[in-house]
Every structure is written in C-alpha cells, then in structure tokens.
C-alpha cells in the first residue's frame, strides 16, 4: 500500500508561500494514495511553468519536458506502456496556450490520461503576462491597456472536443480536489481537470478570497446530475454550468462518459506493448517477401 510518506521527494517545493500549487501537489499525492497506485507505476508528464515543477515533488516517475508539450510526451508513454498510470500536469498557459492543439486532439482520442491544469489565469514563471484564461480587460505586463480577448472556457472546450471526464477543482478545497483527481485516475479515458490555483504574486484579482466567496460544488447541488451522452439535456446543463461565472462559480464533475480509450482500440496493442523490446533481432523474412 502506498502511503503519503512514500511520495516524499528528495527536495521540497520552492513555490511562493501560499501558492495554489501546494494544494494541487497535496491533492495529487492524496489521489495516488486513495487510488491505491504504486509509485513505480505512475508517471507524471509536465511542461514548463511553476506548476510544471510538480514531478520533482511527488515521488513517482516524472518527465518535465517542454512548455506546452506534456500531452504528447504523456501520449508516447501511455501508448508505449499502457500498464502505467499516466498523468499530465501543467499550467493554463502551457495547456490552453502553447499546447492547445495537443489538448483538443488528446481529448478526441480519449487517451487514458488524467490531465490536471493548474489554472491561475496568469503567466507566473515569466513574471505576469495575460494567459488564455485571463478575463477580458485584465491589465498585465503584456496587456497594459487591458486584455482584449475573451478567455478560453475549459469546460465547454472539453465537451466540444470529446473528453470523457470533465471537472473543475479549486486548490483551496483540498478534499474535493483530491476526490476529483482520484476519479480522473480511475476513469478509463481522458480526464480534463481544470483547477483554480491562485497565483498569490501576480494575480491580484483571482485570489483565494475571490474564489472562496464564489465557488460552490456541483456535488452539493441537488439540481445538477452528472450524465453522459445519452442524456442531451444533462450535456446542455453541463455546458450551461460551465459558462456560469461571476457571483457563483461551480466546481466539481461536469460530465462523464464511457467510451473506449484510444489504446483499447489500437490493433498493435492487442498482443504486446511497444516497451516489450525483444532480446533478439526481429525476424523480417516475411516482410522481405513483400518486396519480391
């Protein structure tokens, strides 16, 4: 049984005091323990950004790659060895900015990957520029006159792109976030988990106070029922809740659907997996005969 102490790493996080990433780290650890996973069989693929340093502080296998590319790396890992539990973790700039193309394709593929996006609506590591989820009008270093674009809506994006587990968590509600991530890990298919993760240094708008007074959990709302594609009304409701913003902002599981994961339908994975590299040279006589 994996315990929290097993996930302790050689070093400790160097995030700013109060950073929402501490909450994400704790939730990821808690979810791994609750899901009963072995540390050697979990891989976290991340990008570049404050939050993307997380593989250094959750002891399992980690790959901290390039900005915007945690999903393609995670895809390679998962398709090479489907027995691993693969998570991708990165920021909003990483996932909704540079990596947006990969995100949409990964969702329609329904890869069995849990993707946690630390969404602080700002670029932190690069010291405060507008992000794809920054609200219109927000003044940042790159938008001194206020952002002109409207933000990406992750929930609607997930619905439109074919993700089969779409959730939003909040770094200030650890038990709730932990259970969302645990649910994502157990879900066979692509789980998109957007997480409000306040940046205490560069985002003076979307703070803990901001979210504490606004968020409510869908799980506590009896009028909301999570439903899959067989229930178009529920799907519309998920979309409507996804757009809810202002005085009340919902967090929780918006949508879930059972659909075969990409690897389940890949013919080449039926009998072996790519990491099973043979000890001896592979016989190619039959292939050669196709050129005769």
């Amino acid at each position: 049984m994996t315990e929290l102490t097993d996930l302790q790493t050689k070093t400790n996080p160097n995030w700013c005091p109060g950073c929402g990433d501490y909450g994400v780290q704790a939730a990821v650890k808690g979810a791994i323990v609750k899901a009963g996973l072995k540390t050697s069989e979990v891989v976290i693929s991340s990008g570049i950004g404050c939050g993307s340093k997380i593989p250094h502080w959750v002891k399992c296998y980690g790959f901290e790659g390039l900005h915007g590319r945690p999903l393609p790396v995670a895809t390679g890992i998962k398709l090479a060895n489907p027995e691993l539990t693969v998570m991708a973790i990165g920021g909003d700039g990483d996932g909704y900015g540079l990596g947006m193309g990969h995100l949409i394709h990964s969702m329609r593929r329904n890869l069995d990957i849990t993707y946690v996006i630390q969404d602080n609506q700002i670029y932190g590591l690069t010291t405060g520029q507008t992000s794809p989820t920054s609200e219109k009008g927000v003044r940042t270093k790159s938008t001194p006159e206020g952002a002109i674009e409207i933000p990406v809506n992750p929930i609607e994006l997930g619905l439109a792109s074919g993700a089969t587990y779409i959730a939003r968590g909040y770094a200030g509600n650890l038990p709730h976030l932990t259970s969302l991530i645990e649910g994502g890990l157990k879900h066979r298919g692509f789980a998109l988990i957007d997480v409000f993760q306040p940046c205490v240094t560069f985002n003076k708008v979307n703070t803990y106070e901001y979210f504490n007074s606004r968020v409510y959990t869908l799980e506590d709302d009896e009028s909301f029922v999570v439903a899959g594609p067989g229930d178009p009304d529920a799907r519309c409701e998920a979309s409507r809740r996804g757009r809810e913003w202002g005085d009340k902002i919902p967090i929780g599981l918006f949508y879930r659907e059972e659909r075969p994961a990409y690897g389940d339908e890949e013919a080449a994975l039926k009998e072996s997996k790519p990491v099973d590299v043979p000890d001896k040279v592979v016989d190619i006589e039959e292939l050669k005969s196709s050129f005769m």
Binding site: G62, P72, G76
Partner: protein, 585 residues
C-alpha cells in the same frame, strides 16, 4: 541496335497511372533476371501536371542509379514532347499516342510529326483507341508497355504473369483486358528495335526503395513505436510501419503535428520503447526543440529526415541535400547526437538497424538523413543485404530494481550518475526503486534541477563525453575505387550520390576514387584530413547550393575545396552530368 542498358521513360499527367506502369514494367524485367533502377519525378498535385517515371535496366551489368538520357519515351501527354524528346539517345524511340499528333508543334522542327529530332524514331500508336476497344482508356498504359516490350523483342510472359498476380483480385475481366492490351501493344511493333545484350541472371530478387529498407532495419531492431505527420518524401515510412503494425506489434500514431510526433517518441523512448519518427526538412524544423529535449534528458530515439528541396515549402516532391546543417545544428545548446547518412538502399537497412542500438547505448537522439532520391527510387537488390545473422540488440544501460537500488543514495535513484563513458544507467517506468524525474532543465545526478556552476560543468562534460565513445565505434571513412596512390581524382560526397559516383568511376578514363561521408556528427576529422591531404585532386560533389558537407569538412579539417560540382535544380545529377562538369572544370 545493341544495348547493354536500356532506359525507358513514361511521361504523363498525375493520376494517369504512370508510376504503377513503371513499377509493373520494372518488376517484370526484374523477374526475368534484370538489374533494375526505377525513379520517379512527380509534381506536388493529385491530378494533371506532368509526371514521369524512368525504368533503367540491364541483363548484363548492374544498374546502380538513374540516367537522364533515355532510349524509349512513352508520351501520354503534350508536355512529354517538350520535356523528353531532347533526352533521347541517338537511335532512341519516341512512342506517343496518336491523339497527340499535333501536339509536337511548338517542340520545334519540321519532320512529318512536326518535330526535329534527328536520329530518333517517332512512333505514333493508337494507345487510347486500342484501350477503349478493350474496355476503357485505363488500359492505355498496358498497351504502351506492350509497345515497349515489342521494341526490345522481349517476351510478354513475365509481364503477363505480373498482371495476373497484381490484378487477379480485381477479377478475370480486368486480367484479360490487360493481357489483351499488352499483346495489342506488342502487335504494333513490326520489327525489334533494340537487341539487348545478356549475361547471367542477376540474383536481385528484391525491389525496394530507401524508405522501405530503413523500415526493415527499424523492425529488425525492435522498433515498435512510431509517431509521425505526413510529409513527402518521408510519408511512406509511416505508411509502411502502419501497414506492418498489427503483424509486428508496432504502434504508429499519426500525430496532430510534427511537434507532437517528436514529443511522443521522446515519451515512448523514456518509457522504454524503441521509438522513431520520420519527416522532411520542414517537419524537422518543427521537431527541433524536442530533439534538443531528447539530447538534454538523455532519451534514446530515432528520427528519419528525408530531404527535399528547401527553403520553406520549396520544391516539395524533388530532391536535394540541403538539410545537412539543419540536422547537425538543430536546437539550442550543445548536446550529443548522431547524424548518420546512408548512401544506398543496403545502407538504409544497416543504418536503420544500427540507429536504434546506438540511440539506446548512448541515450541520444539519432538522426538518419535520407533524401527524396534515396527514399523513393526503387532498386533491385539481393535479399542477402537484409540479413539478420550476426546482428544483436544492444539496449545499453537499463537497470532493474536491484540495479536501481545500487545506484541510489538515501532511497533516491541517481538517474544521471557520473560515469566514465558519460552514459548513466536508466530505469524504465514500472521499475521499483527506480523512480526519478527526467527533465529538460539542467540537473544534478538525481535529476533535480540545480543551477550551480560546478554541477553545470560536470553534467555538460558528462553528456558530451558520450561523443568520444560514439566516434570511436563508428566505422572510419574509406576510399571506394582506385587506391589512394593511383587515383588521379578523389570525389567527395555523401548520401544518395553514392551510386551515381560509383557509376562515374566505371565511366571515367582516369583512375579515381570516392570519399563518402557517412557520419556528420560526430565527425571523423583526423581520418578525413589524412585522406584529403594525400589526394592528388579533390572534387566536391553535392546536391545543394553551397556545398554544405564541404563546409563541414573544411571547418573540421582545414581542408579547402577548390573544385566543386554542385546541382540544386531539384533533380538528382547523373553520371553524365558529373563527367561533363568535370571536363569543364
């Protein structure tokens, strides 16, 4: 008239089955015992335009490469007149569809056909009309093949058997119509035009191109993960690997773009698969950042980069050797890598195989540099070149759980432990006690991102040390042809110019040899310097504007090239081009 080698060109619009006709002809000649080389020149479109396919073969001498001068042209469009009439050797035959009778106007001259082509037999044939009588215009290519075989006095039986083999699944009607078309075509020829000289049958039972051969090498090496995005002339690698996927357990992921493809193979390589991608120059440019990631994170992976004409989209279906510098210097910073350059189909196989061993052994990205000419030209070759005997899988330093424990400190695994050869033991995800982070940052031995100066120097030195071992194990360059003392000329080239230069050696009056550069990074500077400084006369031959390999040699050895033969019009130079240039140098 007698011929040792015959070169046949079939020209027509895209979508008219030119390539299939050429392949069918080449295959049947090969089955009859000929040495064959098939090259294709196509435009970047699906229908229309002007494409052509050349089948060069001999029953007497091995055919290594193409020849711009042809013996028979089959013209299925007007453009063939302007493009190919002048390419005919004296005594050649220009076969064209009757309906194109007036098309020659504008090609110049005043013969009965409106064409001035002395020494050439103009041969109008009712290809289309005959085909239509047999059931449809689609058979006109087969009628033309009948004409071609007739002109050479070749038996029809080999091609008829090919037709039965290939079209059998389409039904008896299709087979019958094709065979009738072939016979009708041969019937148009009243007397044999070319007498072919014959020797023993060639034992060259396989017909394949460089991409095919590379795939065979990759499969033999246990590559089971491919991620790629289509790009001419590399696409057939992904097609072939995908086609073999179910049978050989190869996952081929058509990625959303080249950036994704490259990052996917890095992920798969990290997980422990033998992984690869394939692309051309433009796609490789997109992959660049992740190639450096593989170098920094020390993840084995293989990239096949098949060059076409740049810059930018350039001439997307033509050939060039212009990506050498790009692959040598791709990505920021210094990191260890290997750039291998096969020169022919056999080397595509052997390097395709070796690439995976070397990637694993040194934990580096390995780039195999191909080009359109090598990737797509089809040669006949003995299956002996694709043997697996004596080959071994070398996965390098992969540690199990106890190995990981031994390489750990206080329970933390040292993924980047100091080592004499610069290569540290790695654990694959799933291995207990081997948990670690692989990262794009500079790290300490544990994989923790640290920024102190001593560590940076230590880690850089560790990684770059791999290049010493790698260079020592790469075969040294060797001269092909006359001995160093005897050779009046030493040609220097790389990649697909190999067979062309080999043909030059057989045609020159003076003794000469070739220095082929097969590895661009790391570079055998000392050996190459010795060879070049001892040579009588050195001529650089490259299929690009600036003589890129020449520049690489100069910066590594100090040797400067006074004489260069360069071509950058998108079409591979042939031996005649080199000899003509040589005479005017």
């Amino acid at each position: 008239m007698n011929r040792k080698t015959i070169n046949i060109l079939i020209g027509g619009p895209a979508g008219a089955g030119i390539e299939s006709a050429g392949l069918l002809l080449g295959q049947s000649l090969n089955r009859e015992g000929a040495s064959v080389f098939i090259s294709n020149e196509i435009m970047s479109l699906i229908r229309g335009g002007h494409n052509y396919n050349r089948v060069r073969f001999s029953f007497l001498e091995p055919v290594l490469c193409h020849d711009e001068t042809v013996d028979i042209v089959v013209a299925l469009d007007k453009d063939s007149f302007a493009e190919h009439l002048s390419q005919l050797r004296e005594g050649g035959v220009f076969v064209y569809d009757k309906s194109l009778e007036g098309a020659a106007t504008g090609a110049g001259g005043s013969t009965a056909d409106g064409v001035d082509a002395p020494g050439v037999k103009m041969m109008p044939v009712d290809l289309v009309g005959t085909a239509k009588e047999l059931g449809g215009e689609i058979y006109k290519n087969t009628v033309a093949l009948g004409v071609v075989l007739g002109l050479m006095g070749e038996p029809l039986e080999y091609l008829e058997k090919m037709i039965r083999d290939k079209f059998g699944s389409k039904g008896a009607e299709v087979v019958d119509a094709n065979i009738k078309a072939l016979r009708a075509g041969a019937g148009f020829v009243s007397e044999v035009h070319f007498e072919l000289e014959r020797g023993d049958k060639f034992e060259e039972e396989m017909l394949l191109n460089g991409n095919d051969a590379f795939c065979l090498g990759a499969v033999a090496a246990g590559c089971k993960f491919v991620a790629a995005y289509p790009m001419t002339p590399a696409s057939s690698i992904m097609h072939t690997m995908a086609a073999w996927g179910r049978k050989k357990g190869i996952v081929m992921k058509h990625a959303e773009d080249e950036i994704a493809a490259m990052n996917m193979i890095v992920g798969a390589g990290f997980a422990g698969a033998r992984s690869m991608t394939c692309t051309s120059g433009g796609g490789f440019a997109l992959m660049t950042e992740a190639v450096g990631l593989a170098g920094c994170a020390e993840v084995p992976c293989v990239i096949a980069e098949s060059q076409r004409v740049g810059p930018s989209t350039g001439l997307p279906t033509r050939t060039e050797q212009g990506d050498l510098r790009q692959v040598m210097h791709a990505s920021q910073g210094d990191y260890p890598r290997l750039v291998m350059i096969p020169g022919d189909v056999a080397e595509c196989y052997s390097m395709g195989f070796d690439a995976f061993n070397l990637a694993d052994k040194y934990q580096i990205p390995v780039i195999v540099l191909l080009d359109k000419y090598l990737s797509e030209s089809i040669v006949s070759i003995s299956g002996d070149h694709f043997g697996t005997e004596g080959l071994e899988i070398d996965r390098g330093k992969i540690l199990d759980s106890s190995g990981a424990s031994a390489a750990s400190e206080e329970g933390f695994f040292k993924r980047y432990a100091e080592s004499e050869d610069g290569v540290s033991g790695r654990t694959l995800p799933g291995t207990e006690k081997g948990e670690h982070v692989t990262t794009s940052y500079e790290t300490d031995e544990f994989g923790e991102a640290v920024e102190d100066r001593e560590n940076r120097v230590l880690e850089m030195n560790k990684r770059m040390r791999k290049m010493d071992g790698l260079l020592a194990e790469l075969p040294e360059p060797e001269l092909v042809g006359a001995s160093a003392d005897e050779a009046e000329i030493t040609f220097v080239g790389f990649g697909s110019l190999k067979p062309v230069l080999e043909e030059v050696l057989t045609e020159l009056d003076v003794k000469a040899n070739i220095l082929l550069i097969k590895h661009a990074v790391p570079f055998h500077s000392e050996k190459i310097e010795v060879i070049l400084k001892a040579a009588n006369r050195v001529i650089l031959v490259e299929q690009n504007f600036s003589g890129m390999m020449g520049g690489v040699i100069t910066e590594n050895t100090g040797f400067k090239f006074d004489e260069k033969i360069l071509k950058y019009d998108g079409r591979q130079m042939d031996s005649e081009f080199i000899i003509n240039k040589l005479n005017s140098l």
